[in-house]
Structure formats: C-alpha cells, structure tokens
Amino acid sequence: MALTTYVEAIRQGIWEEMEKDERVFVLGEDVGIYGGAFKVTAGMLEKFGEWRIIDTPISESAIVGAAIGAALMGMRPIAEMQFADFISCAFDQITNFAAKCRYRWGAGVPIVVRGPSGGGVHGGPFHSQNPEMYFVHTPGLKVVCPSTAYDAKGLIKAAIRDPDPVIYFEHKFLYRRVKEELPTDDFVVPIGKASIRRPGTDISVLTYGAMVYNALDAAKELEREGIDLEVVDLRSLLPFDKETILESVKKTNKVILLHEDTRIGGFAGELAAIISDEAFEYLDGPIRRITAPDTPVPYSPPLEEFFLPKVSDIVNVARELYAY
C-alpha cells in the first residue's frame, strides 16, 4: 500500500466529499487553475469544473462572506485562505456573521474555512502564524488542528459534514513530511475527540499540530532515562476533549502543556485553568507550559529556531517535573 502524505490526505478528503455531495464546493485564491498554493486542490478544476472550484479575487472577507451566503442557501462551501495568516482579513465575517447566525436566528452556517498555519519553513511573520486562539475564543465556531494524515482526512470530512462553521488549520510543516497508509473506505474523525499518541504513566504532554512530533521525539529520548511520557494530541480545540484530558492528568498526575502558538492567551492557559478547576487534587507538581515566546514569528533561521518550542525544551521541563 502506498503512503499518503498529510497534504494529499486533505485533498482526498475534499475530493471524496465533492464526489459524494454536489453541494460541496471550494472557493479561494488560486485554487482552480493553479490547484492551490500548496496544491491541496490540484486536479479538482478538471474534475469538478469552474463553478465548484472557484478562483476568486484577493478578497478574504468576501471569500468567507460569499461562503456564508451560499451556505445559507443550502450549499457546503469550503473557503481556502491561501495562508492561515490571511484569515485576519476575514475575521469579521467569521466571528460576527458566521459564528452568530445560529444563535441569533437559528440558521446554521455549514462552512469550512481552511488554510495552512504554523512555522518551521522560514515563512516569516505573515506566512507562519498560528491564529487558532482568535477563533477558539468565539462561541459558535469549531476549531480543529490535525497532526496526522489520517486525522487530516478524517477531520476535513467531518468539518465538511458539520452543520456549524469549522475553522480547519492544516500545519504546513507537516504537509509533505508526515505520511501513512490510509484505509480505503470512507471514514471521519469526530470533531471534539483527542487521541493518545503514546500512552505513558509519568507525565502527560497535552499538545496539538506539529508539536505532537516534538513531544513524541522527547518521549523517545526520555524513555532511555526511565521517564514515561503520555502524549495526548488534542486534534480539536473547540470543542475540546475534556474527558480525555482529565483522565490523562488523573493517571499521570503531572502535566506539560505544549503548543507552537505564543504564550499569553494561548490554549495552554485555558487547559491549565480547567485542570486546576477539575483535577487539582490529582496534581503532584506544577502545571508547566512550553510555548513560543510572545513575539511575531521571525524569519531568519536562528531566530525562528529560537522561537519554536524544541524537543530539548520538552526534555528539560519533563526532567524537572519528574524530579519534583
């Protein structure tokens, strides 16, 4: 069996949903004739035609606004942001129009807004951001951040089928770096369910996106020292899998919260509060955060390397926490 890359998994997920449901269509910048800046929609124009793979003007707000309008008329639009950074241009349509329709007047807005987020490719301040928390803080939205090819495919399908607006962040560092054999039959990954990537007994590392791999690498290194990490991949940030999170913390009694996003207002802060509220008695040590510093994402390799959380950061914090 051939291995499927993360980017190909997203493409397959969209393709299969478009074949199955004629309400599904894609709109965005350079998605048609060029097949998308990262080739997520390669070949779709030829297969589905120009009214289902729609090249738009450079108008992120109108791309999302148009997706909302079409969704209200019964369509299932997928709006591509060429880079997740550009989602800021559509912030108002997403947070004020899409997110609040059901609450205000009972109309669902089943759109998917997706785009490549994350650093590690020297993209600089405007092609590397992790904008998930702006949307996690918006009731009415769902936010997912897959880390594997399987999840990338299963979550894009779940997002397309979901009756509410879903913001789907694909990590561009993983596009062609992770691959796996995928089942040939139709499958979805439910939104709101975490996955335990590595069961362990000593410390829980709660993370998502590309940082899952840093956590797994750290776990491998610490294994030799007899420290057993449990790596929990959150997969969905909104809604998030509180049950799995708390179960893991109650088992290991120590927790590291890890993300590539910056520190203040990052998801780690929310998780720390929940763990403190609901599992305080189970903790045998301080809740530790490992995140990017509170700066823009810098461009030059030494700067970006400094910015991104590293395997060694996790190893060091885990050692301290283990000894606590």
């Binding site: 108002d92 349509q93 129009f97 609450y103 205000r104 007047w105």
Partner: protein, 342 residues
C-alpha cells in the same frame, strides 16, 4: 451630492425618472406597505420607545419608505432579501408578521430572534430574509455568495442587498460588489443614500459625488433614482431584477433620499441644518405618492383614511399581543450556539 449645495435641479438632472407604471393593484400595495412602514416605525420610535416598552436602540427609516417597498414589491417568494437597518418595508413585504416584529423590539421570546438579538436584526429563511449585522456592509459579500449559489445551480433567483451611503466606505462593500461583478451573479445592490451616517455627512464619507459613481470601478451599471419616488425605485429595481434574473449580472441602484430623524431614537440630529429637513419634508415619499394616486383616480381621500384606519387597527392588535408575549427563559442564553438536533 454635497448636502450644502443641494437643490432640486441637481436632483432632477441626476435621477432616472420612471419609464413605466405597475398595475393598479401594485400601486395600492405600494401605498399600503409604505404607510404600514411609516405607522409601525412611528409607534415603535415615538410611542413604545418613549413608554419604555422597547428594549435597546431604535433606528427607523422615516422618509425612506419608498426604497425598500418599491424594490421588494415585485420579488418572487424564492428570491432573497438582505435588508439593512432602515428597510422595515422589506420585512413586511416578505411576510414577517407585525407581532413577530414588535415582539422582536420588545425582546420577547416570540420575536424574530427569540430575544437573542434586537431591533431590525431580524431574519428568517422561511421568508428568505437574511438578517443584518451591525458591521455595516457585511451583508454585501454574503449577498454575493447567495447570488453565486443561484448561478452555480442555474437557478433563476435574485438577491437584493440593501445598505446606506456610509456602508459603502467599508472594505467589505468593495470586496463584495467587486466579487459579485466578477462572477456576474444575480444580485441587485440598493443604496439608501440618506446623506448622513450617524452625524457624518456624505462629503466626509466619500470624495465622489454619487454612490453610483463607485459602480464604474467594478464594471457594473450604477443608476441613480429619486429615492422618495416609489415609482422610480420600483421601475429601476424591476429592470435591475430582470437583468439579474436573465443572467446579465448585478446592478447598483443609488436611491437619493434623506434621513428625516436622528441616527437613532436618542439622537436629535441637531447637526443637520434645519433647511435640509424642510427641503426633504416637501418631498415626503408618501405624500407625494398619495397625490399621484388621487390625481389618477386610483384612490380617494376617504380611501386613504380608511387605509390608515386599517393599518392602525392591524398595529394595535399586534402590539396588544406582543406586549403580553413572554420574555425568553434565562437559560435560553445557553441554547443554539451549535446545532442541537432538529
């Protein structure tokens, strides 16, 4: 149009006069909906609001009734309307009940948003009415997408999208109009140019003379009509709707009018020169249309009185019901953030 320099000749030179008339029954419907709009908003703004029965702000379209009424009267039920905040006539014509509207303004559970949102933020997919949000012009890209969905599916439906002059300064307006024109979608953009955005006059809003001038930049026709002439609005909208329905793309219609109130019920509009109110009072769209209908023998003075009585009665009855309607349960706060099943 520079408000300081306004005079009837300028207006007369710019506007497109009506080239045809609707059937008599439509003429009477136009009058009914304009008068119903006027009376309903009068009750809301001048009675219920002052009696403390309205929750939150009130924004009315007094003096602008001809625009929503004239452009919506000919729509099909499967067409879609995206009103803005001074387009009460659109809700009435699309079939939203007086009780639903009044309950909305009184924050009741029976209102269009079940107490979740206020005043003219009303919508209902049953009536193909898409509610407005306070971020002006957000409905423009949404209307473009509605039109896109019609075009993709080869449906001969049309979307009408309303906004004021101030909204045309927002980026979403430009993104949405441009996208609609690039894709040649069946949307009619209708501007209530009432010359003030809250306290800001038109010359502080744009450096071009007319909102319709903006159309050229996006490659769609831009037409100016006297927004206080319901027949001119009807004629321009009818042509634009036919044009959209037959696949020729969007049109921008600028309706020149005037906001005969403050921005909202708490605003006395002290910043508006008194002579502007006088100028436009003489051009009141309802008085003007009543004179026209009487001259043509389509309705008599007593017929108009009877119509007013009927409207008063309909509104009285709806107020009585809405006032007794329940407020939402506090826990409803938590409901319907996400899909909860049918």
């Amino acid at each position: 149009m520079n408000v300081k320099d306004i005079n009837p000749e300028i207006l007369a030179r710019q506007v497109v006069p009506p080239t045809r008339l609707p059937p008599d029954q439509t003429l009477l419907d136009l009058l009914y909906y304009m008068k119903l709009t006027r009376e309903l908003e009068f009750r809301i703004e001048r009675k219920l609001y002052r009696q403390g029965k309205i929750v939150g702000g009130v924004y009315v379209g007094r003096g602008q009734e001809a625009i929503a009424v004239g452009s919506c009267i000919n729509l099909r039920a499967d067409d879609v309307v995206c009103p803005s905040h001074r387009d009460m006539g659109a809700f009435l014509i699309r079939g939203m009940s007086l009780r639903t509207i009044l309950a909305q303004y009184m924050a009741r559970k029976t209102g269009a948003t079940r107490g979740k949102d206020g005043n003219m933020h009303m919508g209902d997919l049953k009536h193909n009415l898409i509610p407005f949000v306070s971020m002006l012009a957000d409905n423009v890209p949404v209307a473009a997408g509605i039109g896109l969905s019609f075009k993709m599916r080869s449906q001969d439906r049309v979307a009408l999208c309303f906004f004021g002059d101030g909204a045309t300064s927002r980026g979403d307006w430009h993104e949405g109009v441009n996208m609609a024109s690039v894709f040649k979608v069946p949307v009619v953009f209708i501007c209530n140019n009432n010359q003030y955005a809250y306290s800001t006059p038109l010359e502080r809003q744009m450096a071009v003379e007319n909102v319709a001038d903006r159309a050229e930049a996006y490659g769609l026709p831009g037409e100016i009509v006297d927004g206080n002439d319901v027949l001119a609005v009807w004629d321009a909208a009818t042509r634009a709707i036919e044009r959209a329905r037959s696949g020729q793309g969007p049109t921008l219609i600028e309706c020149k009018t005037f906001r005969m109130t403050g921005h909202s019920a708490h605003d006395d509009a002290g910043y508006v020169p008194a002579e502007l109110f006088e100028f436009w009072e003489e051009r009141d769209p309802i008085n003007k249309f009543e004179r026209f209908l009487k001259e043509r023998g389509i309705i008599t003075a007593s017929g108009i009185e009877d119509l007013q009585k009927r409207i008063n009665r309909e509104i009285d009855e709806a107020i009585q019901i809405a006032e007794k309607d329940p407020f939402p349960d506090p826990e409803d706060c938590l409901k319907d953030v996400y899909y909860e099943g049918e």
